[in-house]
Subunit: 311 residues, 2 copies
């Protein structure tokens, strides 16, 4: 591909090029805005240093249970089953993932507009935000495959045209995470560096990359160095825990070799000042359920949404 | 297959049949023989209950280093590279495993005849023993694939004709094992039960099963129950640690997603009263490097072998 002059983060290249320091701040708010929210200065510093934060017991048990019930009920909902963003087991009505779930479920929509959460997002992104991508996942025991180390921003930049590093992911676990059921693993500090990746992006790459990401992963040499320098942290903890992670932090997961299923809510906030452009890899944009281009108005917070009401 | 009348542990069946309690003792020595060795009564009880024992710092650092150097030196040894039991990286002279290593390396041979070890083996098997299988493994970072849950005895019985549960495996780690480089995982207590497996064994099944075992694995329903009841234990620890595990205990490993390689010595003792017969699956026997039928005379112990001498 030809590198665009406005491309701050070249990737999917013909030849390896060295990594470099990111060109965007990690925390975008400044001055009084930085302290105006639920995240303490020490939490902000931790996020700046590691690229992620973990909060146990963020959602109460009853709300967790409601979201799990919703997921099972969707299997009887034809309009959800037929939705382009719904991934089912081959030949079965068993749902694995529903993308764009914030547009299908009131409960999920209310959660993404929770004032506590949006205030944190404002502290991190320094602006209003909208949902770039959302999904609810269910992986039964023994069947969950692992996922290679990658930066989400790398894909969002190359395949969705997200220009700058000004997005943040929220993942809320609906099941317990233990060392054996394939929990999220993160490499602290890697969000500070840009690792350009090698390889041309085929059209509609997402159809295979959602199952097994082979493009847009750093070289083994880079991975070797970054993990030896920074180590790996495993996000284990009970149902209801929240992980907030910066869009460029390197993460992955191993296979689930246990009988314990893994289920989670996942939603990404992007700054309204960082809306999607043409994909930097030069291909056509991915569908809206992966990279939202339609509903990009600022989310309006709601106070203490009752997530226990019918979703 | 037709079930032989002398088959105490039918497996590779056409239809699922229920699991049942093993028909052999876990510890075969009795009376004074049981206490006549390095394993304490509490260690023996732990082995009886869980099916395995872990000893940290069993081999000293210098000896560990010698074995690692040996492995690298074998890559320049044509006779070892050409040996049927040597598995190299496709297209490279990089060794992944050498089977039958106790017959190729003096150092390894001396280790397997160490009096401390053979005295433990005698306590567990209640008789003299010989090496059923041995190997040295090297798995580089990022490349080690995981291995499904299985009982080794299931394969040794079906494909090698090992009649009874009277064998024990020794695994000595040459590298650190941490939660991220695919350590051995065991399901305590599973050695007490026989889980017959479903599926006909193709001829020369070992050529694919050494890479990915699909036959001879319990049903997901059985795995689900046994893990929920007994949990999973991960054998993490430093280089030089020893894991002793009973031939029928369920074990597996996840992929190595770290840069840290895993390397280990692995050798299996079988009782001289439990020599191989015709494979119970009805196929021809596997090669000697997987299931030794040639050198089955009792191992003669040597006192304090100097494993630091040239191997």
């Amino acid at each position: 591909m030809d590198t665009r002059t406005d491309d701050f983060y070249p990737t999917r290249l013909e030849r390896p090029v060295p990594s470099f320091e990111r060109k965007d701040p990690v925390i975008h708010s400044q001055g009084a805005d930085r302290s105006n929210g639920p995240l303490s200065e020490s939490e902000l510093e931790q996020y700046e240093r590691n690229g992620f934060l973990v909060f146990n017991n963020f959602l109460d048990r009853e709300t967790v249970q409601r979201f799990r019930e919703d997921l099972r009920n969707y299997e009887d909902d034809e309009s959800i089953l037929r939705s382009e963003g719904t991934i089912t087991e081959p030949g079965k009505q068993e749902i694995r993932s529903i993308f764009g779930i914030h547009e299908l479920s009131d409960r999920f929509d209310r959660l993404t507009r929770d004032r506590r959460i949006l205030d944190m997002v404002h502290q991190l992104l320094g602006s209003d935000a909208y949902i770039h991508q959302s999904r609810i996942n269910y992986k039964p025991g023994f069947n969950g495959k692992g996922f290679n180390w990658h930066s989400d921003f790398e894909t969002w930049h190359a395949e969705d045209g997200m220009p700058r590093m000004r997005a943040v992911s929220f993942s809320i676990s609906l099941t317990d995470n233990n060392p054996f059921n394939g929990p999220l693993m993160l490499v602290p500090g890697t969000h500070k560096t840009w690792f350009p990746c090698v390889g041309r992006t085929p059209e509609d790459n997402y159809q295979s990359s959602l199952k097994n990401q082979e493009l847009g992963v750093p070289s083994q040499k880079d991975l070797d160095r970054m993990i030896r320098e920074n180590g790996i942290e495993s996000a284990t903890g009970g149902a209801g825990s929240l992980i907030i992670f910066e869009c460029n932090v390197m993460h992955g997961s191993n296979a689930n070799m246990s009988p314990w299923p893994r289920s989670n809510l996942f939603f990404v906030y992007n700054s309204v000042e960082n809306k999607l452009e043409q994909p930097y890899c030069g291909n056509r944009a991915r569908p809206d359920f992966l990279g939202n281009r339609t509903h990009t108005e600022p989310l309006v917070p709601i106070d203490s949404p009752d997530l226990r009401e019918t979703g």
